[in-house]
């Protein structure tokens, strides 16, 4: 390897591959909403957003705990504003907006996997960094869409209750699903079904549920996690829940909810390290 491969370098050097990969996932995941947004529009929006990311992310995303509201992210925010504006007018829901952005993970992971396949420690680090970027962008996109919509009808904020959760294969036998939003509506059931389907389809041994994007873990969410974990276990796989922040941990303890027999990790990176170890890929959990 002549040069270090990172999420940032992939964005710049494999721009076209990322873009075409993303458009392909959009089509297959049914996130394109061709009924609402034309394929041409979608392609332009995807290209503009990626271009803004390629400009900004390699520099700006290196700092720990970067914040999309920082000045240097302005081009990305502008691209997102434009997309949100357009999609609000067309009646795209917050969940669909989340899917649209989150589906960008798949091409990233594929390319990173291809380029870094033999060196899983680096791969893990870059998967983590790609995830952080895409999740932040997805959250910002959802918030922007909801705000724009709020201006139209105040009550549309209720849309936030739809959870956006594309299942992504991260490695052989490992799938991951990030939950973004909340789980009040019936979608919670869909998330579980998608995950179980993905486990079968990809013969996954480990399913990582990343709840970093879930702001409230109440009894309903806890119950949903418990149910999902036991369904995953019944299928002979193992469930890892990651993204439990200290404030959520304290709250769950106060609630009196127990998550017995469920492996939990503080963030996706340590969740992945655990998963790699379980399937026998040397990565080392620190």
């Amino acid at each position: 390897m002549a040069k270090e491969v990172t999420t940032g370098s992939v964005l710049v050097e494999d721009f076209d591959r990322v873009l075409s990969g993303w458009l392909k996932v959009q089509a297959s995941e049914n996130v394109k909403r061709t009924d609402l947004v034309s394929a041409k529009e979608s392609e332009k929006q995807s290209r503009d957003l990626l271009a803004a990311l390629a400009d900004v992310a390699p520099e700006a995303a290196t700092a720990d705990g970067f914040d999309l509201s920082d000045a240097q992210w302005a081009p990305v925010r502008e691209a997102l504003e434009e997309i949100a504006e357009n999609r609000t007018e067309r009646g795209v829901s917050a969940a669909e907006m989340g899917w649209f952005i989150a589906s960008l993970k798949q091409p990233f992971f594929e390319i990173l996997h291809e380029e870094l396949g033999e060196t899983s420690a680096e791969l893990m680090r870059e998967i983590w960094s790609a995830t952080r970027i895409v999740d932040q962008v997805a959250l910002y996109a959802i918030e922007t869409l909801v705000q724009k919509r709020e201006a139209i009808i105040e009550r549309q904020r209720g849309e936030m209750t739809e959870v956006s959760a594309p299942v992504v294969k991260i490695w052989d036998r490992i799938v991951t699903v990030p939950l973004i939003g909340t789980l009040d509506s019936f979608r919670a059931q869909t998330v579980m079904e998608n995950l179980l389907d993905a486990i079968v389809q990809w013969e996954a041994e480990i399913a990582i549920i990343d709840i970093t994007g879930v702001s409230t873990v109440d009894t309903l969410v806890a119950q949903h996690l418990l149910k999902t974990a036991s369904a995953v276990r019944l299928m002979g796989s193992e469930c890892v829940i990651c993204g439990i922040s200290p404030k959520i941990a304290q709250t769950v303890v106060n609630l009196g909810v127990d998550l017995p027999n469920i492996t939990t990790r503080v963030d996706l990176q340590s969740g992945l390290a655990y998963a790699f170890r379980r399937i026998g890929v040397a990565a080392g959990e620190r």
């Binding site: 009040d184 509506s185 409230t216 009894t219 009196g256």
Partner: protein, 134 residues
Amino acid sequence: MEDGRTAVTLASAQDVAYAREAAKRAMTEIGASTVRRTKFVTAVSEIARNAVIYGRGGRIVFEIREQGGVRSVVAECSDRGPGIADVAMALTDGYSTGKGLGRGLGGAKRLVDRFEIRSSETTGTVVILESRAR
């Protein structure tokens, strides 16, 4: 929240999320730490959902107060439901007449600084939650 008061009508599951948003905004406004905010929002989520599921819907009102230089948020959730026959029992962890974990009421009580509940067959259920900024 110009006058320090917000009301959210609770009729559906989606309204619970809306109540959480309002709770979050109020706690942010008084400058509460994220831990305190998260706890309060979670308690509101439990009580609001109970009102929707068991109380045939209702209303939750948020108010910002100040006492001795410390600000707090008070949430009063009232419903038009059948009331709770045995409040002590309902507060017991693990007790549920529905499909829940039975930890909502007891959990909410542990998550806030002040918890009050009044319930009767004729007036429905009223739950008051209060959390200070610090």
